[in-house]
């Protein structure tokens, strides 16, 4: 893949009228946005307004919010998810950096074996061994703990290989200069490598943050205490408030649950794209 961000365009291709493209893009963007816009509308309505298919904002936004945020303590679930996503993202980034450093700047026996050991995990998604992992982690006595949510996801082959590839493409002079200064590997990492790798770090961080924030299956199994649950699973309890199917609060909660990953994604979108270009380059 070329290291061009999608914003960078090439001449010559685009000829002819432009308004059909504006029309097509606006239509497509609207269709894609429809489920969310519709949810935003429902989030402001109470059940009678929903059943009368009112197309203007309703009157129940405040009460829906109270039902979600206060009555069902969605704030607590949000905080749990923030912590989990932060720990996993930070931990995975650090461990991947260390692994990349070891792979690229050290010679050691059996390196190919270690590499293979990590490579093989690419074909081992957690989901196919989720029952054994559930039994094992329960056996550790980690049910309903943050450790159970974070520890299994701290390392990944993707991250280690991403940094290995990135470091391998950097000029060797960096290391030589650093060695002449007598810097230790950790100093080399923090003073030299990290400052020039922010794009790759940001790309990995966005992917990991969004991935962790959106995790559903593992928390739904290992966390049974509602007070310690993460938002994606907590949504399920909101289908029923005070004994009836309530649509408004559920839609509001779904929107609230999507705000943090959306912000992270939008803020780091540029870096994410250029980082991806580097990561994909072979």
């Amino acid at each position: 893949m070329a290291g061009l961000a999608p914003g960078v365009q090439r001449r010559g291709w685009f000829r002819g009228r432009k308004w059909p493209f504006h029309l097509g893009l606006t239509a497509t963007a609207t269709i894609i946005a429809f489920p969310l816009l519709y949810a935003a509308l429902i989030a402001t309505q109470n059940n009678p307004e929903i059943f009368s298919f009112r197309t203007s904002p309703g009157t129940a936004l405040r009460s829906n919010f109270e039902a979600v945020w206060v009555k069902r303590n969605f704030a607590g679930a949000m905080w749990n998810t923030v912590q989990m996503s932060f720990y996993v993202t930070a931990g995975k980034t650090v461990l991947s950096l260390l692994a990349g450093l070891a792979f690229v700047y050290f010679k050691f026996r059996a390196k190919w074996l270690v590499f293979f050991f990590v490579l093989v995990t690419l074909m081992m998604p957690t989901e196919v061994m989720i029952l054994a992992m559930f039994r094992m982690v329960s056996g550790f006595g980690w049910q309903d703990t943050m450790t159970a949510l974070v520890a299994p996801f701290l390392a990944s082959a993707t991250g280690a290989f991403l940094f290995r590839q990135h470091f391998a493409n950097l000029p060797l002079e960096l290391l030589e200069a650093s060695q002449i200064d007598g810097a230790t590997p950790i100093k080399f990492l923090t003073r030299v490598l990290i400052p020039i790798s922010w794009n790759v770090i940001a790309a990995l961080a966005v992917i990991q943050f969004v991935y962790t924030w959106n995790m559903f299956l593992w928390p739904s199994l290992i966390i049974r205490d509602e007070a310690r649950q993460v938002v994606q699973v907590s949504l399920q309890t909101l289908t029923n408030i005070d004994g009836a199917l309530t649509y408004g609060p559920l839609m509001l909660a779904a929107i609230i649950a999507s705000i943090p990953p959306a912000i992270v994604f939008l803020l780091l979108q540029k870096r994410f794209m250029s980082g991806f270009a580097i990561g994909q380059e072979k």
Partner: protein, 459 residues
């Protein structure tokens, strides 16, 4: 019966090495023979030869021999890698894992190990150990939370398959034969000829025959067997639906959006944001849209078109369609993102030449743009497939919970239903192993293809 397998391994081991090694020698054949026997003996010893026990059936024997063959083959492949290293021959994997630069720190041997140790420990404890335990569990009858378990040999596997050992071997072999036959035909036929077109069609047909063979191999239920065939069918329909809709849609939107146009960055952001939405939230949003009483879809169909849409949760096709639509919508942003990047690598000079030659827009697209995008398409195929296998769980859990009558219960959903909700860990683990094999198959196919065929254009 065990002896037959071991003798076969002792004879066929050297044969494998003879075919693959550059430097055949008596000692190498001896080692290969020993390794093959040892590899073949691993599973019978670990499982107490249960596949050959007095009460075992023909299908059990098949499994026992199959595992012996797999063990022997694994040992031989590893041995071959060692021989190649000794010969100084760099195979793909060795070239990939080898040194990527000459410089480096000269410090104590323990320093790189120290840097790698957190990663290796996490992978060992939370991936390798559960992987091994999944295989162990799959041969047991274990209840969730119960301390005791009973070894049941292969019965967790044999009960999801048809119980005719002959068909069990014949169907997959037929599919494999079809693939090799078609490949042979493709090789022989001259490019561009009519025969070549027939061969290409045959190759596609051979690929499809794998799906048919698997369909025939899984048990439809009845006679004490578990009906796994419906789960297989659901998984195939829903996965293919998500991948096809998500990728075709993604490419179409990206092709519309990648051109230089005022406000292009804003458009692109407005197209890819569903990447950040979770599968669970996608399920919630489409749960609302398709809700039979309050949803806009039913309402509009009724009031505008006078169509009385049945409750999608009670209608198999609608339920599967709703799951596919919700999941494809969520993955669309990801596909657009990658296709936008991929479209930057399309060779512009070829496009311009094609315009001058009077090629139509459709011809330009199929003859130049699509081939140039093939690496991205292939990459997305694998990631989308992974998504459709696993992440779809949350969407299904919110929208249909497997209803109606299990018609939206895909493999991962069934694993949780059997293993956690029914507390039947052994059966759930056996189904996990099936899914595991599918994932390994897809990944190996990816490694092989990306190693040989896919070329990264540009850059």
């Amino acid at each position: 019966m065990l002896i037959i397998g071991l003798v076969a391994a002792a004879i066929l081991g050297p044969f494998y090495t003879w075919r693959n090694t550059d430097n055949p020698s008596a000692s190498r054949f001896g080692i290969a023979s020993a390794v093959a026997v040892a590899g073949a003996a691993v599973t019978p010893i670990a499982m107490g030869q249960c596949g050959f026990a007095a009460e075992s059936t023909g299908v059990d024997h098949l499994f026992a021999y199959g595992l012996m063959a797999a063990g022997a083959l694994l040992g031989l492949v590893a041995l071959q890698a060692l021989f190649d290293r000794a010969d100084g021959k760099k195979r793909d994997t060795v070239a990939m894992t080898g040194e990527i630069r000459t410089g480096g720190y000269r410090m104590g041997w323990w320093v790189p190990w120290l840097l790698l140790s957190p990663t290796l420990i996490i992978l060992l404890v939370f991936l390798y150990r559960p992987a091994v335990e999944t295989f162990t569990l799959s041969t047991q009858l274990t209840r969730l939370g119960a301390p005791r378990s009973v070894d049941v040999c292969f019965s967790n596997f044999t009960e999801v398959l048809i119980d005719d050992p002959f068909k069990l071997v014949a169907y997959p072999l037929l599919a494999i034969a079809a693939i090799y036959g078609a490949r042979f035909w493709v090789k022989r036929a001259a490019p561009g000829s009519l025969s070549r077109r027939g061969a290409d069609l045959a190759a596609v047909g051979a690929m499809l025959s794998v799906f048919v063979a698997l369909y025939a191999v899984f048990s439809p239920g009845g006679g004490g067997q578990v009906a796994y065939r419906p789960v297989y069918v659901n998984t195939v329909i829903i996965s293919i639906g998500i991948v096809a809709l998500g990728m075709v849609g993604g490419l179409a939107v990206a092709y519309l959006a990648f051109r230089e146009i005022r406000g292009g960055t804003i458009y692109r952001t407005l197209l890819i944001w569903p990447y950040a939405i979770s599968p669970a939230v996608a399920g919630v949003l489409f749960f609302m849209i398709f809700d039979p009483t309050a949803g806009v879809f039913t309402h509009v169909m009724d009031t505008w078109f006078g169509i009385d849409v049945p409750n999608y949760r009670e209608h198999a096709v609608l339920a599967q369609g709703a799951i596919i639509l919700a999941s494809a919508w969520k993955i669309l942003g990801y596909n657009i993102l990658f296709y936008l990047a991929g479209l930057q690598t399309v060779p512009i000079d070829q496009i311009e030449a094609a315009v001058i030659d009077g090629a139509s827009a459709w011809q330009r697209f199929t003859k130049i743009v699509l081939p140039a995008l093939s690496p991205i398409t292939f990459f997305l195929l694998v990631t989308n497939l992974t998504y459709a296998f696993f992440e779809v769980y949350a969407t299904i859990d919110f929208m249909t919970k497997g209803a109606p009558a299990g018609k939206t219960s895909v493999a991962i959903y069934e694993i949780i239903r059997v293993g956690v909700n029914n507390g039947d860990l052994g059966r759930g683990a056996a189904q996990s192993v099936l899914l595991f094999i599918a994932v390994i198959g897809v990944t190996l196919w990816q490694f092989r293809t990306s190693g040989s065929r896919v070329s990264y254009g540009g850059a």
